[in-house]
Subunit: 592 residues, 2 copies
């Protein structure tokens, strides 16, 4: 066994409580090294020798490692444990906090000292079933022409610059709720809607007012109410890293300089404040003059923003916040934020915008999940670019899950694109195998959507993806929603509806574990099994433009049982090895 | 290079801010694998290709890994970085968040998104110079006979049971401050002094009153004041995991059962509350009826205990808290505790009692340091039991440091024994090389103390160790302090005084980096270098009963320079290799 590869820490994500008396433990080992992974565990005050056994399961692997998991049950909530690893070479090693040794005593123990109720990472239960639809309100639907900004373009006009307006608004979203209901989503995440000077509204002028181009408090309340009646939740976008330069406090600083009582609300390097040609204050990114960074350490700023967080939950009844540039705001602020949000509504969800490894925010004290860019990048590379094979795809997904607890993984916002990226179908059109017309971007987009909708975590559909909208990076990924049925891709829309229905019908797709099933690198065929309460469903996808024949075993079934492929309705009889044909860019769902 | 051994996470302890513009990064690799470890870093918003270089240093190693460190400076406080590793085999690998690859792009980047002032782990500056003396007040000195409990034993009486009293008190400590001043320590940590029914007082009756056997508020104030005038700080013991069953709230629950308004302050499994023969409520450990566990999730309990924390800082002017059974109280409570304590006195220190890997408490949001049992166990095994050699000793120390940030390592309470363990000299007497009289427990104890006083972190001297007191586990490690000069070991006392002086004289011993210098497993000779602001001192210890000759290089000196051994005053001329004789259980201090 390769000692250097072994990793366990009695802390998230390698040990985390899943309930008051249940501790999930995870161990990482060199891939293929371990035949068995067992644990001896007991109350930490009991004397040695009376420990309970637990056999761990190999739940995932990547290019370097296998991951083993198991759940320790403890009456006293105080756990000590030691791993016994049996190698494929017949060797054994004890692994505890003191070290790795053939001698148990030298290994010592890991200690999870106490499962404290208030430290348990709790996410709202509904999150497990969440299917999210992201709306960029200015571009979704113009429901109220009276609030259109000057020079509003016609909906069908070609988008030519960053700053244009199309007149989309909250009434528009309200009007289109039946469409969303029919699509089958149950959560709407809207990019910012508070007063601001831009179409994207990430430069907040007033956190307490809805931008009049979008509506007002009544419109929001009506939207939330109507959405709720359809079982749809609403998530707002909290831009707390920075405000707009039109925010009252920054305006005061511009006016009064050092004398402003809001001078410390920002990071001003020197007075007087200069905006052009180069800011002398911290901003979002570097020197974005219209987006001064907020000093979230300042008690008044904290109090102000936390009141905002509470206000919209209590006043408008929203179901959570997505946090813009969440990784550049301090952890301390987010901890306070979580307390306020969960106090205002324990069922509210908190999703951070973090494009990278987010474990520092996902231990249960800050966010529930993040916008899952690790997921997005894996899907982009596999389905759109086709620059990685089945094995790399699986490796990347494994790593993206194994750095987090189950709770965080369940609360991930699994995107394939959004308002900050090119649209997925455009990525498929511009890259991948084959030349132009052979690329079959629609098929690959459908395959990616299939995967997204059968993977753990909340799938997030960026408005218009479901009707085949394309678009390069901002601003072209923010084109007006296509409502003209002649312009919509009906096949894509049907696909989304079918897949959403499937996810809603099979609890294992939303709540189940995830297990890699088939990794046929040569055929570019990948399979995975989702299991929940003893019910398993196996998915098989072919990410190649060629029909493939693969040999698979329905490992969750018994020989002779019948298994149904749900897309076609075709039945198979389970043999030790089944030969399956799968269409080019095809997907199959096997249910026993 | 062994990919499986590589480890970096853009989070504590692998990445942590040491100042507003400085990020320390640490990388773990297979021992002996890496020739060079470089970093390319830049502001995370700048385009690729303009990155700055940083060469990392191999700062430590254990049996499996080398550890490399460097400090990234960032004007914008937003850092992205990627490692370039050059193997001893001439190979190279890029290592970023996406993976490990010969291809830079495939490696991606690590992101430390923003160094937020409020997330920086700050410890009080004085902690770097702290030398702590632990007092068990009932057994230190009887300064006031009038407050003696009934049946108080004579100071010289033999200790025969757990429950006896000797009459030690706060006046006693006050009286003996000149002794402590002469010894050279500058921090006193007292085990609990609040009203309680036992001699150890870990079962608090009243968190707001000093036990009358020890004194009162005035005595404490006088003690703090007098100590401060001598440059000595005072740390109290916070027993917040549980209270005594005589605590008013628990008494109320015993009396009124479920009707008590304090019923939720505890974890009562069912009413009526039963204490004997087996409790039906959670306690410290299991079924310790006199120590009911406090429900620190309850807002009233939180508020009560946090007021206690603030009260003693503000009222008595104490300089910090040591937290009893800190690992069984929730992180959420400790975060609130830190805010209150640091608000009341930013210079107050917080030390948790955690006997195992404590990284979950040491990211800067909870404790400054912990009672460093990993250190204690390494010293116990090496110096007392002599069950491990030089290399294992070094490995254990490395691991104990590399799981924490610099700040936590500086704030460690480095004990070799305490009121909960056998005394170190007793461990030396009962084990180690040689038979009985050959064991030289005093020499080995002195060697351990030498090491403790030349190692990073706050050395903690358990009362009486400095005069050679012995004692098996509780209660025998809690014998009355030996004040009779004829009974004190003068040699040991001189040793402590000399070593404390040395630590105070050479800032590198208290504030410097730590580097392993000599690992002579065969000779049982170990060397290490401490460096601060360009000043280095090298220590050499011989943990064997035989004079040893070792070949060493004064790697921080130039050939031909003079180096002085500070214990003997002997001078050496630096050669490429110097042959040094070191006495049985000897220690040497080389200063250039």
């Amino acid at each position: 066994m390769l000692k250097e590869a072994l990793l366990h820490v009695a802390d998230n994500p390698y040990a985390f409580a899943v309930d008051n008396h249940q501790l999930k433990v995870r161990l990482r080992a060199k891939k293929g090294d371990i035949l068995r992974c067992d644990i001896l565990h007991d109350d930490r005050y009991r004397s040695v020798g009376r420990e309970n056994r637990l056999a761990l399961t190999n739940v995932a692997w990547d290019d370097l490692y296998d991951y083993f998991e198991g759940v320790i049950t403890s009456d006293t909530k105080r756990v000590r444990y030691v791993f016994l690893l049996t190698g494929i070479d017949g060797s054994h090693l004890w692994y505890g906090e003191k070290g790795i040794s053939v001698n148990r005593e030298e290994a010592g123990y890991f200690q999870f000292a106490y499962i404290a109720e208030q430290d348990i990472f709790r996410i709202p239960d509904w999150v497990h079933d969440g299917i999210v639809y992201q709306i960029f309100p200015e571009r979704f639907y113009n429901g109220d022409k009276t609030n259109d900004p000057p020079n509003t373009l016609e909906w069908e006009d070609k988008l030519t610059d960053w700053k244009c307006y199309y007149g989309g608004d909250l009434s528009g979203i309200l009007n289109k709720l039946p469409y969303l209901e029919e699509l089958g989503i149950n959560v709407i995440y809207m990019t910012p809607i508070f007063s601001s000077t831009t179409n994207h509204k990430y430069d907040t002028t007033d956190y307490y007012s809805i931008d009049p181009q979008f509506g007002d408090l009544d419109t929001v309340k009506a939207l939330v109410k109507e959405a709720r009646s359809k079982g749809i939740r609403i998530i707002f976008d909290a831009v707390f890293n920075h405000c707009g330069d039109t925010f009252f406090a920054f305006q005061d600083v511009l006016l009064k300089g050092e004398q402003s009582k809001f001078a410390d609300w920002f990071f001003i390097n020197e007075f007087p404040v200069i905006q052009h040609p180069k800011t002398n204050y911290e901003t979002f990114a570097n020197h974005v003059s219209t987006m001064p960074k907020l000093n979230t350490k300042h008690p008044e700023v904290q109090a102000y923003l936390l009141r905002v967080a509470r206000y919209w939950i209590e006043e408008a009844g929203i179901d959570g916040w997505r946090l813009d540039v969440a990784n550049e705001v301090d952890h301390d602020f987010w901890r306070a934020f979580r307390k306020v949000v969960k106090d205002a509504n324990p069922e509210a969800v908190i999703i951070g915008e973090v494009w990278h490894d987010s474990r520092a925010w996902l231990r249960g004290d800050q966010f529930d999940g993040v916008m899952n860019y690790l997921f997005k990048e894996a899907l982009n590379d596999f389905f759109a670019k086709q620059s990685i094979g089945v094995r790399s795809f699986n490796n990347r997904l494994t790593r993206s899950r194994m750095i987090y607890s189950d709770q965080a993984n369940a609360a991930m916002l699994n995107l394939i694109d959004c308002h900050d990226t090119e649209r997925f179908i455009t990525a498929c059109s511009n890259s991948g195998w084959g030349w132009n017309e052979e690329r079959r971007p629609l098929d690959r987009m459908k395959l990616a959507a299939f995967f997204q909708l059968t993977y753990p975590g909340m799938p997030m559909i960026y408005y218009g993806d479901e009707v085949g909208m394309d678009g390069e990076n901002d601003p072209y990924c923010r084109k007006p929603m296509v409502w003209d049925k002649n312009m919509q891709n009906e096949d894509m829309l049907d696909h989304y509806k079918t897949m959403i229905s499937l996810r809603n019908e099979l609890p294992e797709l939303s709540r189940g574990s995830y297990e890699t099933w088939v990794e046929d690198e040569l055929a570019t065929v990948y399979g995975y099994i989702r299991t929940y309460k003893g019910q398993s469903t196996g998915m098989l996808i072919n990410n190649s433009p060629r029909e493939q024949e693969v040999s698979i075993s329905f490992i969750w079934m018994n020989e002779g049982d019948k298994v149904t492929e749900l897309i076609t309705g075709k039945e198979y009889r389970v043999s030790p090895v089944n030969t399956i044909q799968i269409e080019p860019y095809g997907y199959m769902v096997f249910k026993g």
